[in-house]
Amino acid sequence: MIGEELWVYLRQSPLLWLTVTLVAYMVGYGIYTRSGKQAWANPLLLSVGIVIAILLATGTPYDTYFEGAQFVHFLLGPVTVALAVPLFRNLAQVRQALGPIVIALVTGSLTAIVSGVGIAWLLDADRQTVLSLAPKSITTPVAMGVAEEIGGLPSLTAVLVVLTGTLGSVIALPLFRLLRVRDSAAQGFALGLTAHGIGTARAFTVDDLAGSFAGLAMGLNALVTAIFVPLLLPLLS
């Protein structure tokens, strides 16, 4: 059958999965905008859900999907560099907030490491799982490096980083409303520190200032967590 041949070609081709990624994102983002930007209509969760549903329904393995999706994934590098632009536009506010930045960075980073590791340890998780949790709030490449250094499982850490980022980006805005944290700088900084790039993406849906502080927090937390975790290791084990 011609249809079958076409499908055999399409399911292996990067073109199909690249297109699926873009369409899923546009649908997910469309639902988010139409809902009046409600927290339940999280654009990342919707897009990811659509793609996973299609992959499961067609029996497509992740590796085949990634052949196409890697072109979008590659843009994570240049887009991180591009964070310098809003940071530059908001440089005056960043300079003014150096005190809050340094103090919130240290307390937030320690909270992320100690609470993640501590709770898993209390719940009797496997030692490797406990160690893999330590760098869960920072951006994937650094988190995997830290996990490897302390004897965790880098691939598990990668999953935990994505879970933390997704959850953080879903609960952050309702949580800030509850706590009456209305300052964009505080919202963005907490999002970027807790939920790295995924949180930064969410912060940009608030405004440019929140996005800038989130990008800054993401970069700084990657640095201090990479320093803190090996230092805390004797205490953690």
Partner: protein, 119 residues
């Protein structure tokens, strides 16, 4: 747009090279971001060159995390084995970190505004 994209990639390339040469735990693109920031401070005219492309990319930042997040499906078995401690640790720790960071940030900047602490 082409010039802007080239500049972004060149900054990333410089960043990746630096972090490998010095064997630092910082990801290359983060250094790339610092390079671009320094460039913007030194030469304001760079802003007009990169701004439209940078803003378009950043407006669609969520899209770029889709492929990595779909990767969750490949690790479902790992998660199944220890789902309870993992779920509780990730959820409670994420919540706590958001609360602590946002409140500390607000508290310190509030004090700074009232002049009790240097900003």
């Amino acid at each position: 747009m082409l010039a802007a994209m080239t500049l972004l990639l060149a900054c990333q390339l410089a960043g990746e090279s630096l972090t490998r040469l010095l064997q630092l735990p910082v990801p290359g693109p983060v250094f790339g971001m610092i390079f671009l920031l320094v460039l913007l401070v030194l030469r304001r005219s760079t802003l007009a060159l990169v701004e439209p492309t940078a803003d378009t990319l950043l407006a669609n930042l969520i899209l770029m995390y889709v492929p990595a997040c779909v990767g969750l499906m490949a690790h479902l078995e790992t998660l199944e084995a220890e789902w309870l401690p993992i779920a509780v640790a990730v959820a409670a720790s994420t919540l706590l970190t958001l609360v602590v960071t946002a409140l500390v940030f607000r508290w310190v900047s509030g004090r700074a505004v009232r002049g009790k602490l240097p900003a």
